[in-house]
Symmetry: C2
C-alpha cells in the first residue's frame, strides 16, 4: 500500500511537500500540488490511520460499550449503533464495539472501563445496563479526559442523549382520549418515573382520575396477568397504556384469552416500536423512538466534545422527540 514516501518519489518532491499538498493547507506551488495529487490518485494512496494517530496523539476511533445483562442482545441497540456509525464516519471517526459482561462479573466490568480508556479512544459511548454505574463511570472518564456520552441512560447527572418518554406517553394518552376512550389505564412498573409522570400529567390535563395497574416486572408474562386485573376492574377500562411493547403484547395475549375484543372493547398502546409490535394480532399502536436519530445525536455530541467545542447552554445532554405509530390495536 502506497506511503507518502512512494508519492514523494513518484512526483519528485519531498515527503513534507506531499503532506502539505494532500492536506491542502500551507504553501504549495500549484503545479507541484497537481503533480502530487495525480501521483496519489495513481498509487491509490490511503493515509495510514494508525501512524497518523500515533503521531498526533489524537485517536480517530470512538469506542461503544454495549450490553450488560438483558440488554446485551437488544434489537433496539442495533439502530442506535448504526446511526452512530454513520455520523461518526462522516466525521472521520471509526467505531469500535465492545460488549459488557454478565451480571456476576461486575468486577470485570470495572476493568472493562479501564481497558476502554487504555485504548486511548477519541471518545466513548455507553449504553445503560453496563457494568459500571453511570455516575462513577462518568467521573472516571472526565478525570481521564475522555469525551463520553450515554445513550438513553435514566441518570440525569451524566451527559446523555435520551428519548422524551414523558412526551411520548402524553401523545399516546391524548390520542386515546381524542378517539373517545373514557377510562384509560396505565399498566407498568411504577419505579420508572418518566412514563408514569407523563401518564399522570395527561390524566390531570384531561380532568380524569388515573387508573394505575402496577406490575412487578415489565415482562410479557406479567403483562398477560395484568390483563386479567384490568378486566376485573369495575368500571372496566376501555383503553390501556402499556409500559412497553413487551408488556403490551402480554396484555394482548391476556385479553385474547379472556375473549375480549381489541380494539372494540379495549384499546392497547405499547412503547418502543419493536419489530414485534408490527407483527402482532392485531398490530400494535405504539410510541416510536427514533433510535437511529439517537445514535446520530450521540455521535454529534461526541464529535463536538472531541473538537473541543464549548458545551452548549444547558449542557451536552439532549432530549429527542418520540412519535406515535397508530396501528390496529386502537
Amino acid at each position: 500500500m502506497a506511503r507518502l514516501k512512494d508519492i514523494a518519489e513518484a512526483s519528485g518532491v519531498s515527503i513534507r511537500t506531499v503532506g502539505r499538498a494532500l492536506k491542502g493547507a500551507g504553501y504549495v506551488h500549484k503545479d507541484v500540488r497537481e503533480r502530487v495529487l495525480a501521483s496519489a490518485k495513481e498509487l491509490d494512496y490511503r493515509p495510514h490511520r494508525l501512524a497518523r494517530s500515533l503521531r498526533t496523539g489524537r485517536s480517530h476511533e470512538v469506542l461503544v460499550l454495549a450490553g450488560g445483562i438483558g440488554g446485551q442482545r437488544d434489537e433496539l441497540h442495533i439502530a442506535k449503533i448504526a446511526g452512530m456509525e454513520r455520523a461518526l464516519r462522516a466525521g472521520d471517526m471509526a467505531l469500535g464495539l465492545l460488549f459488557g459482561l454478565e451480571d456476576q462479573a461486575r468486577r470485570q466490568n470495572r476493568d472493562l472501563l479501564d481497558e476502554l480508556i487504555s485504548r486511548r479512544p477519541g471518545g466513548i459511548a455507553l449504553f445503560p445496563g453496563d457494568g459500571p454505574q453511570a455516575k462513577p463511570a462518568a467521573r472516571r472518564l472526565e478525570v481521564g479526559g475522555v469525551p463520553y456520552i450515554f445513550l438513553d441512560h435514566p441518570d440525569r447527572d451524566v451527559d446523555a442523549v435520551r428519548h422524551d418518554r414523558q412526551q411520548g406517553v402524553h401523545e399516546a394518552v391524548t390520542y386515546l382520549a381524542s378517539r373517545g376512550r373514557k377510562r384509560i389505564a396505565y399498566v407498568g412498573v411504577i419505579d420508572e418515573r418518566s412514563r408514569l409522570d407523563g401518564y399522570e400529567r395527561t390524566m390531570r390535563e384531561l380532568g380524569r382520575p388515573p387508573i394505575i395497574v402496577p406490575m412487578p416486572k415489565p415482562t410479557w408474562e406479567d403483562g398477560r396477568k395484568a390483563a386479567s386485573a384490568v378486566a376485573a376492574l369495575d368500571p372496566r377500562p376501555d383503553a390501556i397504556m402499556g409500559y412497553s411493547d413487551i408488556v403490551a403484547l402480554g396484555i394482548l395475549a391476556g385479553l385474547h384469552e379472556l375473549g375480549i375484543k381489541i380494539p372494540a372493547e379495549i384499546a392497547v398502546i405499547g412503547f418502543d416500536d419493536r419489530m414485534a409490535a408490527s407483527l402482532s394480532f392485531p398490530p400494535l399502536t405504539t410510541v416510536q423512538q427514533d433510535n437511529d436519530a439517537l445514535g446520530v445525536a450521540a455521535a454529534e455530541v461526541l464529535l463536538a466534545k472531541v473538537r473541543g467545542d464549548p458545551p452548549p447552554a444547558g449542557g451536552w445532554s439532549r432530549l429527542l422527540p418520540t412519535r406515535l405509530i397508530v396501528r390496529a390495536s386502537t
Copy 2:
C-alpha cells in the same frame, strides 16, 4: 499513560529488558523480571496497541461490515456481533463496525470495501446484503491478502459460517408429524432452496405428498393472506411450516381473523426465533438459530486465518445446527 520507557526508568533497566520481561520470552534475570513486573503493575502499564501494530505490521482489529438494505437494523445481527466480539477479544483482537449504505448507493458500497481494506484490518467479517456481491468481494479480499468470513451467506462459493436451515426444517416437520399432524403445509417463497429442500425431503421420509403454498414475498402481510389460501384447501392442512417468524406471525393473524383455533385446528411453526416469536398469541414454536454461536464460529475462523493456520479439510466454511423451540402454537 505509562510507556515502556517509564517502566525502564522506574526499575532502572533498559527498555529492551522491560520488553523481554513483560513478554516473558528471552533471558531475563529473575530479580530483574520481578522488579520490572512490579513497576509495570504500579504504573498501570498498558501497551499502546497502535504503536505495536505500526511496528509489527500486524493489525489487532477485525472489521465487520454489517447492513445493506433491510437487513441494516436486523435484530438478529446484534447477537452475531456480540458473539464475534467476545471471541475476538479473547483472541486479543478488537472489533470495528461499519454499516453498508442503502441500495441506491451501490457504487459507494464498492468504495466501502476499498476503505475496509485500506484500514489494514487483521480480518473482515461480512454480513449478507452488503453492497458488493459475495464472490467478487471474496476474490478482492483474497487478492488483498485480507482474511475474511461471511456470516450466513447463501453463496456456497465463499468462506462462510452458516446455520443448517435444512436440518432445522427437518426437525420441525418431523416434530409436527410426531405430534399427530397429518397434513403439514409449507408456506414460503420458493426461490430459497435450503428450507424448501428440508421440507420436501422430510415429507418424502414421512411418505406424504408435500403441500406447498408459495408466496411472493416473505412478509407479514403475505403471510396473513396465505393463511386464507391454506384454510381454503380441501382437505385443510392441520399444520403449517412457515418460511420465517415474520411470515408465521402473519399466518397467525390471518388464522385469528378466520376464527381458526391455534393450535387446536392448525399448528404453526416459524423460523428464526426472533423476539417477536415469544411475544405473540399464542407464543410461536420456531426454529432457533444460535446467532451468538455463529458469531463465535466466525471469529474462530478469522483468528485461525490470521494465525496462518492451514485450512481444515473441507475448507473454512462451517455449518451450525439449529434447535426447535416448542411453544404454544403447536
